[in-house]
Amino acid sequence: MNHTKELISIFSKEIPAKNIVEGCNNEVYAPINEEEFAKAITTLSARDSSLISLFCAESFGKNKGFTLFYAFEKAGSEEIIILQRALKSNHANSIAEQFPSASWYEREIMDGFGVRFDDAFDKRRLFLHERYPDDFHPLLKSFKNEKVKMKSSVKPEDEYQFREVHGEGVYHIPVGPVHAGIIEPGHFRFSVIGETIFNLEVRMFWKHRGIEKLAEGKTPLECVRIAETISGDETVANAVAFSNAVEKISNINVPVRAWHLRTIFLELERIYSHLGDMAGMIIDIAYPVGASPFFILREEMFRQNDALTGSRFMKGIVAPSGLKKDIPEDALGNLSSYLEAFSGRFCEAIKVAHSSSFSVIDRLETTGVVRKDLIKPLHITGPVARASGALTDTRIDHPYGIYGNLGLSRKFLERGDVISRFDLKAAEVLDSVRIIRKMIKEMPKGSVIKAGDIADGYAISVVEAPRGQSVHWLYLKNGVVDRYKVRTASFCNWQAIEHAVLGNIVPDFPLINKSMNLSYAGTDL
């Protein structure tokens, strides 16, 4: 924590903020007034910081109005800096020019709270589509969770305006939100010349569930079930991130055994998620023979999860201050011996995909390149970033639980195409297997839950989910959740696909999309 103090002293010189306070989880809160805000943003932008989340809270602390929180991280520093900006009205200036990833957050805040970013270059609605009534802002405290009266019709001028690309031979392909397969809804507007993609705009948020509103007023124990449902294959990651926030606020020391088991679950989740992606990439290029070994291993993984926790997606096991139940030693022993055989079979499957048919590699190479210079402005995280040469890995950058003691090494590849993402995920699966087996070997005895009172307060919690960095910010007041903000990796990574597809051909889009493994549900809370 001395380190944090040092950081505060550096910061108070650079950022014109007074009363910088230390948070509970390696974060510093820098309250900043309107006049000094622009200067602070310029400083942070010059310091090469990356915007990891931007959210709003109503009646936070003494401020009855809106408070905006700008969370930044900087490579090489474990601490997260949060600019805390109390608004005097419902108007604010946009920072999307300096931090392009802010655009979606600002539009989200505009929809949720009615805060206007008057100088933003994009002022369209985000998660509330056209048919939601005007002046409808569901995250306001005055709004009660009830049935919404939708507009019966939308005037043509009120319809969502996509970026238009005109010119000779340019035509538009609207795809979705209803697709030919059983997948989640997303609308893709392609501007195409022949088969070459000239521009793509994604429009998400077709099934808004109101998760952040739903969490308000729930006790932490109830709320962990909500965190689990954010996105199916990030169940454990989100539950752990939420629980970690609660534990930091209340200063609960979770037993080591619980953290060992949580680490096992987190890595199991990464394994089955990556297996699904790898199978999906191969199936999307119509080579099911190469994909089926991955599908088989994934199914076996689900059965291991089920045997271990009683749920194929490992739901209902993680809880604030520990785990809901212990895992018996023989179950862990079975998992360890299964994983021993798993590695060999997995490597065999990789070899089949790589060498049995030249046509596989031909499809994957040079397809859908994510350029390295996009990573920071869009805050791309997870395997997508690491396959493009970025060194980000939340497990190492902001260690949580016992990840700091594992001595993990950073894995990355340079080219950023589909095959890099495939190979990187393969390497991560093998890493995860090693971590799990190490955890099982070193498993300490003891209880898996620590009794402790839950205190009021707020904390940020970041976790490396299979798709990348998941950021949770929790504000507990009077023992219940007052504000719960979640930003999964997909929220940022979706915007990367708009750039990755440029210059590729339309039939390669599904492959690029699969290789980036973006969650619709994780974006549309």
Binding site: D284, I285, S357, D362, I505, V506
Partner: protein
């Protein structure tokens, strides 16, 4: 003339009734290659039966094109089935079996299918039609050269006469020229039946579809007719390939015994070919759209070699 009517009824009915079997068989082979159980061999019959009972839904933007296309397709395929003797080579040949007419009959069906893809006004139909037409423009010339090579080798443009010739001169089985042409015909078969590496018949990814995208707006009975005519088309190309490589077993006279033997022989030969197609599909991934011409070039290459051999050797 009576014999011609008998041939027509026999050949067309056989093609119509047997064709779905081989669609399912290829699916089964692919499933087994992936370590899955796969559908029943009669799955396509069940699907067709189900679809035939369902109502047809037309897009409000669609015109008469959408309505006639399924009937044009099934009719064209039934007529085309006259050109390819599957179980009986009638003698004399009654003036049917012209290879060029056969190919352009199939083009007529394809033309209507592409129009119907555009007709409903959906984004994918148009995309499928545009891709199909691009591929057709490339493969059409190659198909003509392939069959020209066959005509050069057998000195006739009539399919019936070609097969009869191969059947009568046992030496031709060992003729390397026919093996070269078979490779080309196999590639044409893969392209015309929209299979991997050209298209993926199993995909749900609308952006990668070619053939499936064109019939995405078809429903109910009309969809059944479209799928059925696709199956017949596949069987006809399989029939051509079988009769070039191994016509033995096919009947040349209409007797009960020879017809039964011929049917069984064809089922066995076609099953072997279907397994080969299934294994071929399982062995490679779908090619990049713009790399397809290199596959077509292989077909062109073997056909041109054949013509050179026939002309100069």
């Amino acid at each position: 003339m009576n014999a011609f009517v008998q041939y027509s009824v026999l050949n067309v009915l056989f093609a119509v009734l047997v064709s779905p079997l081989f669609m399912s068989l290829i699916k089964k082979v692919k499933a087994l290659a992936q370590g899955r159980k796969g559908p029943s061999l009669f799955q396509m019959y069940y699907n067709l039966w189900k679809l035939l009972k369902k109502e047809v839904i037309y897009s409000s933007n669609s015109s008469w094109i959408m309505r006639v296309t399924p009937y044009v397709n099934i009719t064209v395929m039934a007529v085309a089935a006259l050109f390819v003797p599957l179980i009986l080579i009638p003698q004399p040949v009654y003036g049917i079996g012209n290879i060029i007419l056969f190919l352009y009959l199939l083009s007529l069906a394809k033309f209507f299918m592409a129009l119907s893809g555009l007709d409903a006004g959906s984004a994918f139909g148009g995309m499928g039609s545009s891709r199909e037409m691009t591929i057709s423009a490339l493969i059409e010339t190659i198909t003509i050269v392939v069959f020209a090579a066959l005509a050069f080798a057998l000195k006739t443009t009539n399919l019936h006469e070609m097969f009869l010739q191969i059947l009568e001169s046992n030496m031709l089985f060992l003729n390397p020229v026919l093996i070269l042409i078979s490779i080309s015909v196999f590639i044409v078969l893969i392209v015309e039946t929209a299979r991997v590496p050209v298209d993926n018949p199993e995909t749900h990814l609308e952006l990668t579809m070619i053939h499936e995208a064109m019939i995405l707006e078809q429903s109910g009975k009309n969809l059944a007719l479209m799928e059925w005519s696709h199956a017949i088309k596949q069987l006809l190309f399989m029939g051509i390939l079988i009769n070039i490589l191994f016509p033995w077993g096919i009947a040349v006279a209409l007797t009960q015994y020879s017809i039964v033997v011929s049917m069984l022989a064809f089922l066995v030969k076609a099953s072997v070919l279907a397994v080969a197609v299934g294994l071929f599909e399982s062995s490679c991934a779908k090619s990049r759209l713009f790399h397809l011409p290199s596959l077509f070039t292989i077909a062109l290459f073997f056909s041109v070699i054949t013509i050179l051999i026939e002309v100069f050797a």
